[in-house]
């Protein structure tokens, strides 16, 4: 067993560089996810820095392959996931998905999401602890490969967001499970507005389990590299040694939970908007006004399906959430009700004019029956609901069981 002292980080890093070099000679698919093994710990580093580690199909496939293998490997007790560069992971590589759909039809996209959601499910119900080090941007799909795991470490560099409604999509990757379980109606707020959260806010609302200053991460990693147990209590106590209690900024949205609770608990998106508008009758509140503006700029269809998804997700297990989200994303890609996803990608990612033309263009034009379509089975003979991997043969922890 490799014995490594917390203090001897330099030697560790040198060895790591060496192991990275060896691995970089392998196929290009593997380069996007760097693997480092210590005695009982595996460190997976997302390595697509130019794209802010956005998840490509190859990355998702590789992660899935690794996680499946580690589950059956008695020599793996702990999996660490982190990102190279200034991002943990900026999301799924949506631009590539859109390109694939344009070339090969919507099924090409379905393939990506099916793999990604399967990975999300595996992580949510994993029999071994996953520690994600969120030292940078964590958005969309990036949240999906971290928040479901047992431990999420935020730092002063963390920036979290689920920005899908601005893109004509909806918070997927199991977000309807974890957003809906944030305190009060904070999940609706985060999911509908795409609001950015910092590390302190992530810890306060529970998206992160620990806050460790970025400077202490090498020491934390070193300490985690030598654990020989999957016991979450023990791992948590190791992380605790490097933890700090960050304070919320005075302007933090987390100090506005009362308004969020009153408004984002409403029945419909229209009700939420009018409740927000009622809040600023006769008084100025820059944050509420900005929130209203953000909602008005987002895709109306996205807002409606996102709200319903979070509401349904609140009462469902993580597996059901992912199966439903898979249905939804297939309908989004099919574009039979709205093509906002393609328009959003055009305006935000490709042309970058930041001026999407949504269709339907207004909330009131998105009827209940249009929303219903997204939650129905896809009417296509070859289409199937998402098949989740079986979990019954694994000795699941109580933590995982509670999410089923």
């Amino acid at each position: 067993m490799e014995k490594r002292n917390v203090e001897s980080g330099t030697r560790g890093r040198a060895r790591r560089r060496q192991s990275e070099r060896i691995r970089s000679m392998a196929s290009s698919q593997q380069e996007q996810v760097l693997v480092e093994a210590t005695s009982f710990t595996r460190i997976l580093t997302l390595n697509r820095t130019k794209q802010l580690n956005a998840l490509s199909f190859e990355m998702v496939s590789r992660l899935l392959q690794l996680f499946l293998a580690y589950e059956n490997d008695p020599n793996v007790k702990l999996v660490i996931v982190k990102g190279k560069g200034r991002a943990f992971c900026a999301g799924g590589d949506v631009a590539a998905v859109v390109r694939d759909i344009k070339r090969d039809g919507w099924r090409a996209g379905a393939n990506f999401f099916s793999k990604e959601f399967t990975l999300n499910y595996l992580m949510a119900t994993y029999s071994k602890p996953q520690v994600s080090i969120l030292d940078g941007i964590v958005m969309g799909g990036g949240a999906g490969v971290s928040v479901h795991g047992r431990f999420r470490i935020a730092t002063e560099n963390s920036v979290f967001a689920m920005p899908e409604t601005a893109l004509g999509l909806f918070p997927d990757v199991g977000a309807s499970y974890y957003l809906s379980r944030l305190p009060g109606f904070f999940g609706e707020y985060v999911g509908l507005t795409g609001s950015r959260l910092d590390g302190a806010e992530m810890l306060a609302c529970g998206l992160a389990t620990h806050f460790v200053p970025s400077a202490k991460l090498p020491m934390l990693e070193a300490a985690l590299s030598v654990v020989d147990s999957s016991d979450p209590v023990m791992i948590s106590s190791i992380i605790d040694q490097f933890c700090e209690q960050p304070s919320l900024k005075e302007q933090s949205v987390y100090n506005r939970l009362d308004v969020i609770d009153r408004c984002f608990s409403r029945r419909t998106v229209e009700d939420i908007l009018s409740a927000l508008e009622m809040e600023i009758v006769g008084r100025n509140d820059a944050w509420i006004s900005a929130t209203i503006q953000t909602l008005k700029k987002a895709s109306p269809t996205s807002l409606k399906i996102s709200l319903r998804s979070i509401r349904e997700g609140r009462l469902q297990g993580v597996g059901q959430c992912l199966v439903r989200e898979y249905r939804m994303v297939c309908h989004v890609m099919q574009g039979e009700v709205s093509k906002d996803f393609f328009e959003g990608c055009r305006a935000i990612l490709l042309d970058k004019d930041k001026n999407p033309k949504w269709e339907p263009s207004k909330l009131e034009l998105v009827t209940d029956s249009m929303v219903d379509v997204y939650f129905s089975k896809v009417d296509d003979e070859e289409w199937e609901d998402l098949k989740l991997p079986t979990r019954s043969k694994y000795n699941l922890s109580a933590y995982a069981i509670a999410k089923l």
Partner: protein
């Protein structure tokens, strides 16, 4: 000693098995062995499969406003006022029944305010449409799934007080009271029951006189038996409607500051066996004066100079018109009862799918509770009954919201019969489920046992069940007499089957026959028909001896009781068939068909079929065996069937999930 030895061996065997398992599977770890030294919890989701789409089934069972329901469920789950508690890694919301009566009442009120502030009651009184009435029903069902006190307190305010204003009042009352009631700017109650009179509304003794000089009514409690009793919300509230004979008045019982008004005395009804979150109170009126316009005058009015005016000349009809708001109460109670059954069964079935007891052979693992035919036999017929009640409840709601003067009688009879049958069924289901959960059923956090106390009241309020069932039999009797007198065929209440030839039960029953819906319908119709004939004959005999019809009916109570039950069972069965008929061929329909047979045969198993000789002793035994067979066929669907009830996890209880973790030492420390 032998037993102790055997037990040790079994336990050792469990440990050995575990070791075997862990050495066989590559993911063994020391941690898993230490945390699973003896038994481990296997979530039923991982061991059971769904043979049909549970979302589709839920749509069929809940029928309307599914999204609305989930919104409300979710809203309650997310709020601190609904007392969320974490057990076994999951959040559960149930009231803290260990709180004092005063605290429980305070919490009920806080919950109502919370829901009001988030727009839950928007339009309940000010937007009247079939759609909005159905939405109210859905919300009431969700609220009663959380807590009976919450539903009752809301129900009294909106349906009894609000309903009285709406139905008995005229435009002036609507304009003045409805919006403020909806926003809870005023809080109302409905004071009808007195110490001396409950179900017999006509017997109430409170006196109101009109003083033409001041144009005021004077309300007075003339004697102790006339003081108002069980008045929901009375102990706290400031407006009060009272119904004297056939009249309802608005009287203020508290001022804006919550002080009791002059000439009104109020007392609490005290601690109850359940429903302590509702402030039931008592009221005495000492010549309380209310202005003339406080008479709710849609049915009858008094002119300024004291003349009595009414558009309905027949006092019986006038009386019936006054009871309309009570009908919606009965609908709510009947429908609410079904949801308690769902909660209890979902908990008991889930527990039975994770709890093991006794090995059949030494060294074998213990058997899952639900794999015992006896346990299936206890719970699965109750699941079938709950499905049957759900479909019937949907019919009752539709009947109510589509009401017209022509359907008043049907609504009265069906709501009476369903209220009694559903609440009785539910009390039976709660008791069975409580026992099926063993000792865990005793813990209030596990809900089932506590529900017995909370819902016991449903068997007697808004009409005592026995009285209601007598009214059903009386109504059927009246139909019979009317049909004979006019020499016309039966029409209405589903009695058309009386016009057809009497069905015949085959002397040799087969499994195929027993599962045939035609046979099932025939059996239930035969019993209803025969009991109605017998009741008529029995009453005629008494009358022939010179007794009054009323006395004759009282003396025929046994037949009347059986007939009431026969009517209910038949109508419920019919609604089950109709729901089934809406489905296309497929797995959903197949399972529902099996459930329907189980429901029907459970009805046919009733003693009355032997008592009156509709079934031979042999056939009765055959029915019994068939029930056991159907139970074993439904066993693989048990989880899917209770999941389709759509009760979110948070509204079930810790024993329905990881009860080992929920009760572990580490959970004790974290609490």
């Amino acid at each position: 000693m032998d037993r102790a030895f055997g037990r040790t061996k079994i336990l050792t065997n469990h440990l050995l098995q575990l070791q075997l398992q862990s050495s066989a599977s590559p993911n063994s770890s020391t941690a898993s062995l230490s945390s699973n030294a003896c038994l481990s919890f296997t979530p039923p989701e991982l061991s059971e499969t769904y043979a049909f789409d549970i979302k589709e089934m839920r749509k069929l069972v809940d029928r309307h406003h599914v999204e609305e329901r989930d919104w409300l469920f979710g809203m309650m789950r997310q709020s601190e006022v609904f007392n969320p508690r974490e057990r076994g890694g999951k959040v559960f919301v149930t009231p803290d029944y260990n709180q004092s009566m005063e605290q429980q009442r305070e919490m009920t009120w806080k919950r109502i305010e919370y829901l009001r502030d988030r727009g839950v009651f928007k339009g309940w009184l000010t937007e009247r449409s079939e759609e909005s009435e159905m939405r109210c029903f859905a919300c009431m069902e969700v609220m009663c799934t959380f807590d009976h006190s919450l539903a009752i307190k809301v129900g009294v305010h909106f349906f009894l007080w609000g309903g009285a204003i709406l139905f008995f009042g005229t435009k002036q009352h609507h304009d003045k009271w409805l919006r403020d009631t909806e926003n809870y700017l005023i809080k109302g109650c409905f004071a009808m029951t007195e110490l001396g009179h409950g179900s017999n509304v006509r017997g109430i003794e409170t006196v109101t006189t009109y003083d033409a000089n001041t144009q005021e009514f004077v309300i007075n409690t003339p004697c102790e038996s006339a003081h108002k009793y069980w008045i929901g919300g009375a102990a706290k509230l400031n407006i009060n409607g009272i119904n004297q004979g056939v009249h309802a008045f608005i009287a203020q019982i508290r001022d804006a500051n919550g002080n009791v008004c002059p000439n009104v005395r109020i007392a609490d009804c005290g601690h109850k066996i359940g429903l302590n979150g509702v402030d039931n109170g008592r009221i005495w009126f000492d010549n309380v004066r209310v202005p003339r316009e406080n008479l709710l005058n849609s049915v009858a009015d008094v002119s300024a100079d004291g003349k009595y005016l009414s558009s309905i000349k027949d006092p019986d009809q006038r009386f019936a018109a006054f009871l309309a708001p009570l009908t919606v109460g009965r609908v709510n109670i009947a429908v609410g009862a079904v949801y308690q059954s769902k909660v209890a069964l979902a908990i008991a079935i889930r527990y039975a799918l994770t709890r093991r007891a006794f090995s059949v052979k030494p060294y074998e693992p213990e058997v899952l509770l639900l794999d015992y035919p006896s346990h299936q036999r206890r719970l699965l017929p109750l699941v079938a009954k709950t499905y049957a009640m759900s479909f019937a409840a949907n019919y009752l709601k539709m009947l109510y919201v589509k009401r017209s003067p022509q359907t008043n009688k049907t609504i009265h009879v069906v709501s009476s019969s369903f209220k009694a049958t559903f609440t009785w069924n539910t009390m039976q289901i709660l008791q069975e489920c409580r026992e099926a959960c063993g000792g865990q059923g005793l813990k209030t956090e596990n809900r089932v046992g506590q529900l017995k106390g909370e819902y016991d009241v449903t068997t007697t309020f808004e009409g005592d069940n026995n009285i209601l069932m007598q009214q059903v039999s009386k109504a059927l009797l009246a139909e019979y007499v009317a049909a004979q007198k006019k020499n016309k065929p039966f029409k209405g209440l589903g009695l058309e089957h009386m016009n057809k030839p009497c069905p015949v039960i085959p002397s040799q029953l087969t499994s195929t026959t027993l599962r045939c819906s035609q046979f099932q319908m025939d059996a239930l119709c035969l019993r209803e028909r025969d009991l109605l004939n017998r009741l008529v004959a029995n009453i005629s005999q008494h009358v022939a001896k010179g007794e009054s019809k009323e006395h004759a009916f009282i003396m025929s109570f046994e037949l009347a009781e059986d007939l009431g039950r026969a009517f209910s069972d038949r109508v419920i069965f019919q609604k089950f068939l109709e729901a089934e008929a809406t489905l296309a061929e497929g797995s959903l329909k197949d399972v529902l068909g099996t459930l329907r047979s189980l429901y029907a045969l459970t009805c046919v198993e009733d003693a009355s079929f032997l008592r009156y000789g509709y079934l031979s002793v042999d056939n009765s035994a055959f029915v019994r065996r068939e029930i056991t067979k159907i139970c074993s066929e439904l066993r693989p669907h048990a989880l899917a069937l209770v999941s389709s009830f759509g009760i979110p996890d948070a509204f079930l209880s810790p024993i329905a999930f990881n009860w080992i973790d929920a009760n572990s030492w580490s959970s004790v420390q974290h609490r």
